[in-house]
């Protein structure tokens, strides 16, 4: 048994300034149980009065060993774990995973499945940004925005439930297509949402964008320039708010994103307010994509007919010997993947969500690594908070939009 040791400054002396060792500045723990650390994040702060001199994030409180667990499961069963990573962006994680598997085994996806994937991922992006907006408002003492945001998010989760039977842990996208086709009510539900939502975004803007309290607390706070962002691997809205137009949906289109017409919102200020505005703009762009995809939603199958990887429909099992064999093989053994590796990345609401997937020739992966955007986005915080007040740290942390499940994996 390991002995419990008291935490002392010696452990961190290479990370704090010399004044902390003499007791001139104060070391203060923020978290892991703190409402504005969005989960279980611990920040060790070195303070001079109320000014932050150093910020040392301590992560790992939510480490669940998802990568190790996925290595022990077949490709189909491992997908269930992917929902649990970034629990605000479940469909996006499913998409990242199935794209990697499809690339590894060379599986084609029918156009209808691709379009439905795009619609649901974009709706999920809106839902994720709604949680960001709500929490951002809450951290800056605008309580009502939080309640409005969660009301709209519920409408999106209802659509997810309509398709997959689950509000959050959907596992709806499968290698080769979808679990099943969307129900007939799907189109009306999405259209109703599209009709209702633009007005709601304007409502949020009237509450926040010109609110003097919000402006006071966000403009010029936590500036991040492009060079620092790239050095620390920060991607997504963080990078776009600093002025670099980089979106994987445009740069390396996947799942048919090249067919849709949308803009990539960027700002040049790189401060907390810019990150907020970029996400507000992304609401509108995501709605544009959903509308276009819905208008030209093709008919046809939603699953690849490659039976070596995709289970046959239930109706065939009673009449076809081959279907029964394929069903049995897929659900007991799983499908084999070649002994090679692929890296595939998608644009999650937080940035580049990459999957490094390596097969070992058998039905289970040799290695699966998740390049999660929050992990790298958080590592830049020490640069952003230096010289700001503790209250600003809360605003900066909210604007990074961290999800601890995404960081700790």
């Amino acid at each position: 048994m390991a002995q419990l040791e008291e935490v002392n400054v010696d452990q961190y002396k290479h990370l704090v300034s010399e004044r902390a060792l003499t007791g001139e500045t104060m070391l203060l723990n923020m978290g892991p149980q703190h409402p504005s650390t969005h989960g279980v994040l611990r920040l060790l702060l070195e303070l001079d009065g109320e000014t932050v001199l150093n910020c040392i994030p301590d992560i790992g409180y939510l480490h669940t060993g998802i990568e190790k667990n996925m290595e022990a499961k077949t490709y189909l069963k491992a997908e269930v774990m992917s929902d649990r990573l970034d629990y605000m962006n479940t469909m996006g994680n499913n998409l990242a995973y199935v794209l990697a598997v499809e690339k590894l085994v060379e599986l084609d996806v029918p156009p209808r499945a691709q379009a439905i994937r795009v619609i649901l991922t974009e709706l999920q992006r809106i839902a994720s940004h709604l949680v960001f907006l709500g929490a951002f408002g809450l951290d800056l003492a605008a309580m009502s925005v939080f309640l409005y945001c969660f009301r709209e998010r519920e409408a999106i989760l209802d659509i997810a439930e309509l398709c997959s039977g689950q509000r959050m842990m959907t596992t709806y996208f499968r290698p080769g297509g979808l679990w099943r086709d969307v129900p007939v009510e799907f189109e009306t539900a999405v259209r109703n949402f599209l009709k209702m939502f633009p007005k709601r975004v304007d409502e949020y803007e009237t509450l926040l964008t010109k609110n003097p309290i919000l402006l006071d607390r966000t403009v010029g706070i936590g500036k991040l320039d492009i060079a620092t962002a790239l050095q620390h691997g920060a991607t997504g809205p963080m990078l776009r708010a600093s002025g670099l137009n980089w979106d994987l949906r445009k740069a390396r289109p996947y799942s048919g994103y090249e067919q849709y017409d949308f803009n990539v919102p960027t700002r040049t200020e790189g401060d907390t307010f810019a990150r907020y505005i970029v996400r507000i703009e992304e609401f509108r762009e995501s709605m544009k994509i959903v509308e276009q995809a819905l208008n030209k939603l093709p008919m046809g199958p939603v699953n690849s007919d490659n039976r070596k990887f995709v289970p046959p429909p239930r109706s065939e099992l009673g009449v076809s010997m081959e279907a029964l064999i394929h069903h049995f093989k897929l659900w007991t053994e799983g499908f084999p993947a070649p002994k090679a590796s692929v890296y595939s990345a998608v644009e999650s609401p937080r940035g580049e969500l990459g999957v490094y997937l390596e097969g070992d020739g058998g039905p289970k992966p040799q290695r699966i690594h998740w390049r999660t955007p929050s992990f790298d986005n958080l590592s830049v915080i020490e640069k952003m908070v230096r010289g700001h007040l503790v209250a600003d740290l809360v605003a900066i942390l909210a604007s990074i939009d961290i999800v601890l499940g995404d960081i700790d994996r």
């Binding site: 048994m1 480490h63 190790k68 790239l230 050095q231 620390h232 590796s341 390049r371």
Partner: protein, 170 residues
């Protein structure tokens, strides 16, 4: 291979006499441990690979040399290219020079390698565990680390398992 990537790969091949793998249009370049920092600096400064997208490893236990492959997934934003560097490491006392001076994102990623694979990072500014608690023994993502299911107790082995259960005994 992407047309734009060909001259870069050729230049690397001439400089470091490396072997190359290609799979599904992705290029993997094998680099020796002592040359990796040099190669990363060259790629960042001369060929605009601004972003180190991912840094991870893969364990090929029980194979011993090489036991690990350390994987550097690089991404160029201005040229829209990706490239993967792989560093084979021996299973006995694996060591890797730090890349934090080239890409600061490597700081946390290398701490993760240290934590999860037990790869020693030479010259790292902050060599502590990152995800597991400080007092953990072992490195979870190594293949010889058990996944950690609890052994079920039956009448024939209840006492034996009880002996090594981690609760206070009187």
């Amino acid at each position: 291979m992407d047309k734009k990537l060909e001259p870069i790969v050729q230049a690397l091949q001439e400089k470091y006499t490396t072997s190359i793998e290609e799979f599904r249009d992705e290029v993997h370049i094998f680099i020796k441990t002592e040359q990796i920092v040099d190669a990363l600096t060259l790629l960042r400064d001369k060929y605009d690979f601004e972003l180190l997208s991912a840094l991870t490893a893969s364990d090929y236990w029980p194979q011993q040399s090489p036991r690990f492959h350390v994987i550097y997934q690089l991404s160029s934003i201005s040229r829209n290219l990706t490239l993967q560097l792989r560093v084979p490491l021996d299973g006995n006392n694996p060591k890797l020079p730090t890349a934090t001076r080239v890409y600061q994102v490597a700081n946390w990623r290398e701490r993760e390698l240290l934590d999860m694979f037990g790869i020693e990072i030479e010259g790292h500014p902050d060599p502590r565990r990152i995800l597991m608690p400080e007092d953990t023994t072992g490195h979870p993502l190594r293949k010889d680390f058990p996944l950690g299911y609890e052994e079920p107790q039956f009448t024939f082995n209840i006492d034996e398992i009880d002996l090594h259960k981690p609760y206070a005994k009187e």
